[in-house]
Amino acid sequence: MLDLLWLIPILPLAGAAVNGLLGRRFPKALVTAVGVGAPLLSLLVALGCLWKFSQGSLSSSSNRDAYNQVLYAWTAGDLSIPVAFLLDHLSAVMLFIVTFVGFLIHVYSAGYMAHEEGYSRYFAYLNLFMAAMLLLVLGNNYLVMFVGWEGVGLCSYLLIGFYYDQPFPPYAGKKAFIVNRIGDFAFLVGMFALFDKLGTLSYGEVFTKIAAEPGHAVMGLPLASFVALCFFVGAMGKSAQIPLYVWLPDAMAGPTPVSALIHAATMVTAGVYMVVRSNMIYQLAPGVSQFVAVIGAATAIFAATIAIAQTDIKKVLAYSTVSQLGYMFLAAGLGAYSAALFHVMTHAFFKALLFLGSGSVIHAMGGEQDMTKMGGLRKYMPSTFRTYVIGALAIAGIPPLAGFFSKDEILHSAAANGQWILWAVGLITAGLTAFYMFRSVFLTFFGTFCGTHEQEHHLHESPPSMTIPLWILAAGAVVAGFVGVPKVLGGIDRFHLWLEPVLYHPAGVEAAEHEMAAGMEWLLILIAVGVAVAGILLARRMYGGNAGLANGRTWAERFPTLHRVLANKYYVDEIYDALIVKPLAGLSRFFWKWIDSGLIDGSINAGAYATELTGEFGRLSTTGNVRTYALYFFLGVILLGCWIAFG
C-alpha cells in the first residue's frame, strides 16, 4: 500500500490536466466526476497509506518507520536532488488534513459553483492545488517542498483571481502573489545557504549535519539562525504573519470554498508545517524562536482587533484566520511544535467549517457578504446555522470542542515557559476571538432580516452537497480535539506522543518546559474558558436580540476613533502603499521614462535608425534586376582573379 504513495499527488494532478485541457468540452457531470473523483481516490489512497503506516509505527516511537519513496533524481550538471516522498508522523497528519478537508471542500464546491462560469477551470485549479499541496507536504527535501510551495502559491493566485472579469479579484490575486514573492525569496535564500554550507536539502541529512556542524555562519549569524530566520520570513508570506499578512484578507475575493480550503485550512498552514518540519533548526536558534513567538502573538491580537470591526462576514473569518495562524506561530516559537500542529489540525476543521458555512450564507444571500444586511437567517437555513455555531464555539475554545484543546495547549505552553506576557496576549486574543465570532453569529443568524425583499424571498437552505460537508466538518470540529486531551484532563496527549518521533531534542538545548502543578493548570484552563465565555456574553450583550445592529452602531459611536482605526485595519494597507508601493512605483516610473524609454530604447533605436539608413543606401544596389547582380558577381570574380594572379 505504501508504495502507492506517489499516486496521492499524481491523481489530482491528472484530474487537473484532464479538466484543464479537455474540461471545456466535457459535460458538467463528467467535469464533476473527474474533479471530485480525483481527490476522492487520492483520499482513499492516503487513508490506506496512513492505516498501513500507523500500524507499523504506533508501537514504536522512533522516526525509523518513516517511509521514503524515491521517484527519480532531479539532475542538472553536478547538482542532483532526489525527487522523493516522505511519509512520517508529521506528514501523515498534514496528509490527512489536506486530503480529507480537501475532498470535503471539493464536494461542497460541486454544489457551490454549480451555476458559475468556468466550472471546469475551477476544478482544474482546485485539483492542481491539491496536487501542489500534497507535493509540499510529502516531499522529503526542501526543494520538493519548495516546488509544492510555489505550486500552491500559483493556484492561490489563479483562484483568487478566478472572477477575472471583475476589477478587484485580479488585483487581489496579484497582491497575494507579489507579497508571497517576498517570503519565497527569503525561503530560497535559506535553501541556498543550507545547500551552500551542507550540500544537501534532504530533511534528515540537513538536521543531522546542522546539529553536528555548529561552526557554519552566514552574514555573521550562525547557520541555524540564519536559515531559521529566512524560513520564517518565507512562512510569514505564506502564512500571513505581520508584516506580510496583508494579502490574506484581500484573498477573500476568490470563491468561498477556495477561501476555506486554501486560505484557511491548508495552504496558509504550510508555513506552520515548515516551521514544525524544521523544528531541529529552530531549536538550534532560540533567538529566532522567540522572535517567531512574538510575531505570532502580535499577529494574533492585531488581527483579532481588526476582526472586531469588520462587517464583511468573510473578512471577519479572514482576520480570524490570520489571528489563529498567529496562535500557531506563537506555539511553534515557544517550542510547542505538537501544539502548533494540533491547532493546525483543529483549525482546519472549524475554520473550513466556518468558511463553508459563510459560503452557504452568501450562496443563499445571492452573493451578499455584508453582515449588516443579514440577520435572522437562523430560521431559513437551520443546518447552516447549527454547524456555524458549532464552528464558532470550537474556535472560541469552549470545551469540549476541538478548539478548546488546541488553544489550551498553546496557552499552557506559554505559561509553562514562563512567557506570561505572551500568555496574556494569547488570552486576550482568545476573548476577542469569542467576541467577534459571536458578533458574526448574532448579526447573521439572529435579529431581523435587514436585506432587500428579493434577497429575503430567495433565502433557502443550501443543497445536500453543501450541507453534508458542513455536518461532517462540524463533527470533526467537535471530536478532533480528543486526540490531544492533556494529561491534566485525564488524557494522555496522544497527539503529542504521535508527533514525538519527528521532534528533535538536540544536545545542548535543554527543555525549557517546567512541570506545572495540576492546580495551576486547572486554574489556567478555567481562566481561558471564562474569558471565552465572557467574550460570547459580551457579544450577545452588544449584538444579540432584534436591535443588535443598532446596538452595535451605538457602541461604535461611543469610541469613534478606535472604531475607525479598527474598521480601516489600522491603515496598514495605506501605510504600505505610502512607504513601499508609491516610492517603488515612482522609482519604476523613473526607470521606465528615463532609463528604459530614454537610454535603452534610445540606444536601440539609434542602432535601428543606423541600420535603416545603411539600408536606404544599400537598397540602391539591389535593383531587382538580375543583370545587375550578375555584374557584381562578375566584378567580384575579376577582383578575385586579380588577387590570385597578381596578389
Binding site: R627, T628, L631, L635, I638, C642, A645
Partner: protein
Amino acid sequence: METLIFLIFAALAVASSLVVVIHRSPVYATMSLVVTLFSVAVLFVLLGAPFLGALQILIYAGAIVVLFLFVIMLLNLQKEGESAGRRRGQIWVAIPGALIFIGMVGLVFWRAGAPELQPLTPELVSLKGLATALFSDYLLPFEIVGLLLLVAVIGATVAARRAPDAAEGTGLPPREDFVAEDTARKEARS
C-alpha cells in the same frame, strides 16, 4: 593541318559567339550558338576527346539548344527592342570587365610562358579509360548527377505546368493585375 583546322574553327567559334551575344533576334542567336558548339566540338576532337565532341553535339546541339528553340517559338519571342534608358550603362562596365579578364589571362600566359604540348596518348583518347574512371573514381558524382537530372525533370515539370486555375493555384494575383501594375510602374518611372 591541325593548326589550320584549329584556326578555322577558333575563328568560327569567336565569330558565331559574337553573333550570339550581339544579334537581337533570339533565333539567330540560338543558331549561332549551335555553330559555336559545333566548332568547340571539333576542337574537342582535336584535343583528343572525340567522345566529348560527339556528346557535345548530341546533348548540347541536339537537345539543349533544341529546347531553347522550342521555348523561343512557344513564347514567340521577337527581336529585343531598344533597351530602356538607364540600364544601358551596364555595357560600359561589362566590356571593360571582359577586356580586363582577357588581359589577365593573357598576362598570366605572358608571364608563365606556354608549356610544351604533351604528345597525345592512346590512353587519353580511349573510351575505356574514360568509362573506367567515370564508373569507379567518379561513381558518386555520377550518381549525384543522375539524381540532379531527376530532380530537374520533376522541377521543370512542376514549374512549367499550367495549373487548372493558374491565378488561384499559384497564389499570384490575376494576370490583369500584374500587367496593370507593370504599366503603372513603367509610367511612374518615365
